[in-house]
Symmetry: C2
Subunit: 181 residues, 2 copies
């Protein structure tokens, strides 16, 4: 079993159970491996968590960021980012809902390398949104990035907790109005 294949399952499991609930024993059970077989690939639970965050970032880049590079920098790419971001969550790219929403809520008060890795992933995404907002000539790109990101976070929580698929329509409407300004 390759490290890559293990991490595929680790990301899915972490989106469901959290990065702390991602236990080596449970992951081993799902992969039909021994605990120590999984353990040996990482050396510690912390390294498993860090590798899982990295794998989730790669999935997000492949799914959302890379395809949007076809669009022109500025407003067109910003729209593609928002569409990709919502579509990514809507089709449940992670079975437990957005990995990043779950990971940031879980680790925002646990200082250490895992928290730092989660923060860097989210900061990179906010930075991408702000860069395109700046390119589009918006007067406060960081403000726009914050608002667009918050709407996505809200849609994920609204759908997952309330079971209301209208969450994404609401998010699209909010984003449309924000970008039409």
């Amino acid at each position: 079993m390759s490290r890559e294949a293990i991490l595929e399952r680790a990301v899915d499991l972490a989106s469901l159970e959290g990065l702390e609930g991602l236990t080596i024993g449970r992951l081993a059970g799902e992969l039909e491996m021994s605990k120590s077989g999984v353990f040996a690939n990482f050396g510690s639970k912390r390294e498993l968590q860090l590798a899982t965050v990295q794998a989730a970032a790669e999935r997000f880049v492949a799914d959302v960021i890379a395809p949007a590079q076809e669009a022109q920098a500025g407003l067109p790419r910003l729209r593609r980012y928002c569409e990709g971001y919502l579509a990514h969550m809507e089709r449940a790219a992670f079975p437990g809902g957005c990995f990043w929403a779950a990971a940031s809520a879980e680790f925002d008060d646990r200082p250490g390398p895992v928290r730092d890795a989660v923060r860097e992933g989210i900061a990179a995404w906010l930075g991408e949104l702000a860069a395109q907002a700046r390119e589009a000539g918006m007067d406060d790109p960081e403000q726009a990035a914050f608002e667009l990101w918050a709407v996505g976070l809200g849609a994920n929580a609204y759908r997952r907790l309330l079971g209301d698929e209208a969450a994404f329509d609401r998010a699209r409407r909010a984003i449309e109005e924000r970008l039409a300004e």
Copy 2:
């Protein structure tokens, strides 16, 4: 040690460690009680979790909802709700950040009574926001409630994960623009 005093600590601990990370042993340690002494007050971990959600709801009502009843129904009360909501998170009414943001991310994919209780608390808050938006004459009160709530959720995450206190200024600016429409 009264049940109420135990629940005070339970809410704080849950905001830091999550409702699953709120273990009976750890809570007992902080209260300098025996595990079974804490346990006997609730009968099961699930009952402790449910009582903790209830206590968090009471804290939110006392802190945010009740004071806003002084304001006139409609836009004035809606503004007070938003101000109270942000101030509640900004001064860290829960030491681990907004209890509800953490609890919804943790339980959104764990069916059962705890999830139901979290959902009901959040649905009640969204309903309050929508009711005032309707009273204020807004044309899609649920949409407004969704957007205002999402901005608060975003501000909590932005501040806690990125350590940026500007999160709340950004949230206030976004809410101001939304309500000025």
